[in-house]
Assembly symmetry: D2
Homo-oligomer: 367 residues x 4
């Protein structure tokens, strides 16, 4: 039932609100004997952390993660790992108005309708701050994968932001980590930055499209029918704040293709099957082929903008909402490390599931 | 863990292979006292059933569903409902070659790599025949919703098929059930049909895009963070065979929008909040707003085509695959009733979850 | 949430009522490549089957199990296994009175209060016939264990029936399968039989105590804190109809012991640790030690007796209930194969869980 | 799969080790709008807290619980509630010997065999300190029950300790909270205390039997077949450290009864059905009758005693173990508030489950 839990064997439950004392993730099912310390997790949290450049919110959070359980002398023990991040930048203020007004595009109104009350401070539970906890959990997954599937690499990058589209012919894997946009094309960064500053000046925000690739995924991960690898990846990405669409491989464009063009032909290579293309995004029948697993998703523009939008109060009175404060003009940028974390968690989860049901490694031989 | 189970409180487990003796769904958690008989389920199975017109496969299956448990004197008892569909059209044949060859785009190779063996008859477990069981389970969900949320209506329709796009300005809700393509524009049917016959003559197949709308969904369904309504809908649709992308509301196009354009402004209406638009697809923060819930997904072209594609055998030898037999030139058509069934199941599930945690109906008042 | 599902990785969902067309179990998560056919399951169902001797009900059910999915050419495929048992001995009769009267000690009144309606035919879902489905699922678990842990043996036997107590000093493992009471003492059988026939003649019934032992359980199965091996065994046994108490190892008697007497001292043997005693019942901290896993449980006397008991009707009117028909004077006898099946399922489940989280086999070395 | 999670709709995951920085419980699925603050939880933690009298361990822990999330302005918001208890009395010491020796009757050896490593400080995850987290979670459940089922009362008490048996004819509900043994007979306290001090002087420990009663449980809670109320209660109690047996109602004694004696006859009372007795312990067919729900369980004597016991080291060498330090001579005493907490959690969970599937309140009418 697990409202706030993600995963099947490698599971994490996130907890906490934007402006409460702390937030975190309770990670259960991690294999024992995984080398793990706080610095290994902090690395990923720092990637997601706001306030690092002018393209993201200026909220300053240390986002320092503490491991409260499940690790002994630098190794996981197989018991639950509690990851806690204290909230330090909780500006003291009056939430009276915000608490009684529903910001368009935010969860204010739905939380109110569902629960009858809500924590209005910074969006409460629906704040994107929750994603810090996932990034921490994803760090645990990465540490476990480093031991169980050392060839595996997970990388996310932006492929579109508003009208800006990434030119796929210029794809440069090494450029991704070297710019604020996680853009695989160093030459395009200046244009994207200028575009985004212009959006900000217009008191607007803009959406984005992110792609996440997992290289070195063993064949055989996933399971019929409701535990397909792509099913879990779709849920993983859609659960991220502001995501409105998820694609695997060819994605929505598959609707326009013919079967002859879409088929990934199979050849025998030196180390096993090879494929003439990867329209499938590395997944057939819900199970990994051994090719790159490719997921893409769209993030809507942040609804917190300086341009006034019409809304109502809890009394039903009309009002106008202008969201001042420290907000990302494009929340998609910070979604990149979050999506990487979710990809890592899903793959580790399915690796453990596969090992549980079938045993280690792929089972059928070819050739 | 639940590999073949979908849902949280209203749960179903599907079982069965394409050419085994039977397939079905074990439905658990249905409310008691729901009026239910086989005819009510058969209605939806007949919508999905192949062999009804020249646009779908000519395989002839009665797809007659039997209720084996959980119903007494025409009412559900609250205990598990077993729905069984016997496979009647299992053409006797030699599967020797198929059993040793991996069809490109199919799950043959991944099932082999994962499990070491597979049922090759008609795709076994990975066959789209599995979706008949979901349609039956969806019929149970519809019956329960008819009593718990009588205003609710779920409807799916095609919005694209290969190069053919639906003209949204001509949307006609009543046209949908009156043509083989579930197309909301009667005037376009002839063109779509000609296009599809041409695809078939070219020995090819084609993808499709389907939209499913739920009208009359109560506000307040869904839950943070990993049980969001849109998260579950994304998983539901992605679990359908051949689906490669899922969108909620604005979907992937949200990446290109500005925040000012994307905001759904809120007004006070006579019966509660109203919205100036529905970019959100009826869901904010994972919880329904009371607007139409709008989901869209892409189905890849069937990989079973008469055009030869290169592949390998289980011995690693090169081969060519030509799939003869009775295959849909566009599997997307039959995905429409399947997607409706999944939408109905997700909504009923969240309605029961909401009632469990919060009690009946929306909790917060406005005005 | 899984109301009618048991297990974590190896899961089964039972369905069906006593007098419906069929009942069965949907088994999910079974490893692939397990040798399995219907005869292997029938073996265990025949152990549980009523009507075989004068000590159990004379209801005649073939209890013939059919495998409808998940097995191909004699091997499991890793997909769901549907096991169906048709109900053949449904005596046609009028249920009018039974449907309106609550039998003391039965679930009639609680099903009515909970659901508002119930299937009154033979107890419906609350009938002990449901256990046939578990026995079938347990047969699948045994088949998988035969390949994954060939040294493992699961055996159940009676240790008490009413005033009759088993003399533990006469324990004879080989006697168990050779008498109708699964009694590990051939010499006592005649006395037990005479005692039970006397109970029957008095128009009464009697309770029983059963012990189930698993030998050859690998060390390391189980997990903290809510997935302890003993926690799952307690749930497994308590879920069986009429069970009112469950013990592990020393059980309730542990309350009377001192810590010095209760400690199982540890010694180093040729093949690893050995223990001076087994008060713990083979489980420490929820995890198997490698010793025999010992579970004991009590079954209440069947409430279906010829002696009149006072009750009420659905209208609240007083009435007397006399249960005629074919009922076991001691339902505990047939609980033996059911409990064995549950033990097998729990152990396989934990073996897969352990393999998933930790990998194959015990991980820590001693010596 | 949920190794460290308990519950279905009202779920909590406990985390933390005996001597780590903190431990706690992540509670998910709590209804919104429940009045809750830390003082309400502290009340129950103080009941369980060690070091309060000479009959329990002298370890001094404040066991101060903090609510880190899920509560806003004194009310639950429906989002996860993180409860954290910092460990303050972690005596600094050398764990070298303990880390390499397996204490008989403890989980040292099984954790080592399973995981290959373990946190040896105070038993790590297998320490009874984990139960503090449950008591906190149980406090949340009690707060929710106070609003949803105000007539409900949960009370635990000891019924046996070693050779001391409680005289049921002297049962005094009001005495329970007035003595250190939670004994429902004030006159017996002095004898029990003398007995226990004698056990301690003998360098031994002793087991105990505890009974927990829930009064005012609505009829209709529970569900077939694997979510029976008694099944979940058995799992709940067996998951508590050192518990070796669980009974419902008549319990193991049901094995010795005849059906005529065991039947709880039903009569029509002014407010609905009444029963002539309660052998069933308030549960029929896994569903509550509305009578008192009665659970009993046995706790083994603590294995940490001053009397030397033989064991081995991680190298397989023989050794003797004497456990010095601050240990309870009867851990059963402190199990009382833990069991009350588990009972409260199970009942709330089933109350929400029932409301989800069936709606508010019992559904069938009588009379």
């Amino acid at each position: 039932m697990s409202l706030n839990t993600f995963g099947r064997m490698f599971r994490f439950t996130t907890w906490g609100e934007s402006h409460g004392p702390a937030l975190g993730a309770t990670v259960d099912g991690c294999p024992p004997g995984v080398d793990l310390d706080e610095a290994m997790l902090q690395l990923w949290l720092d990637k997601r952390r706001p306030g690092q450049n002018k393209n993201t919110t200026q909220r300053q959070e240390a986002d320092a993660v503490r491991i409260l359980s499940g690790v002994y002398e630098g190794q996981t023990t197989g018991t639950p790992i509690q990851l806690m991040i204290e909230n330090t930048d909780q500006r003291s203020r009056d939430y009276g108005d915000i608490a009684r007004t529903f910001r368009p595009g935010h969860a204010d109104i739905t939380y109110h309708l569902k629960y009858g009350l809500r924590d209005p401070r910074g969006g409460g539970r629906s704040s994107a701050r929750e994603t810090a906890a996932r990034v921490a959990a994803g760090g645990v997954a990465r540490a476990a994968l480093a031991q169980l599937a050392p060839a595996l690499e997970v990388k996310g990058y932006m492929v579109a932001m508003g009208e800006m589209k990434f030119d796929r012919t210029r794809f440069d894997w090494d450029a991704i980590d070297a710019n604020d946009f996680w853009l695989p094309d160093a030459a395009a960064v200046a244009d994207w930055e200028a575009y985004l500053q212009n959006v900000r000046k217009r008191h607007d925000s803009v959406g984005a499209m992110i792609e996440v690739v997992a290289r070195g995924v063993p064949a055989g991960l996933g399971a019929p029918i409701y535990a397909k690898l792509d099913t879990d990846l779709a849920a993983a990405m859609m659960s991220i704040n502001a995501v409105k669409g998820v694609e695997i491989g060819e994605g929505m464009a598959a609707a326009t293709l013919g079967g002859s063009a879409n088929a990934d032909e199979i050849f025998m290579g030196a180390d096993g099957p090879e494929y003439g293309s990867n329209h499938a995004g590395g997944i057939l029948g819900g199970i990994s082929t051994g090719q790159d697993v490719v997921v893409r998703f769209a993030v809507k523009p942040t609804s917190s903008i300086l341009t006034p939008r019409r809304s109502i109060t809890v009394d039903g009175a009309p009002t106008e909402v202008v969201t001042k404060g420290r907000h990302d003009p494009c929340v998609g940028i910070r979604a990149v490390p979050v999506a990487e974390a979710m990809m890592a968690c899903v793959i580790l989860d399915h690796l453990l599931l596969h090992r549980g049901q079938v045993g280690d490694g792929p089972r059928g031989r070819i050739g």
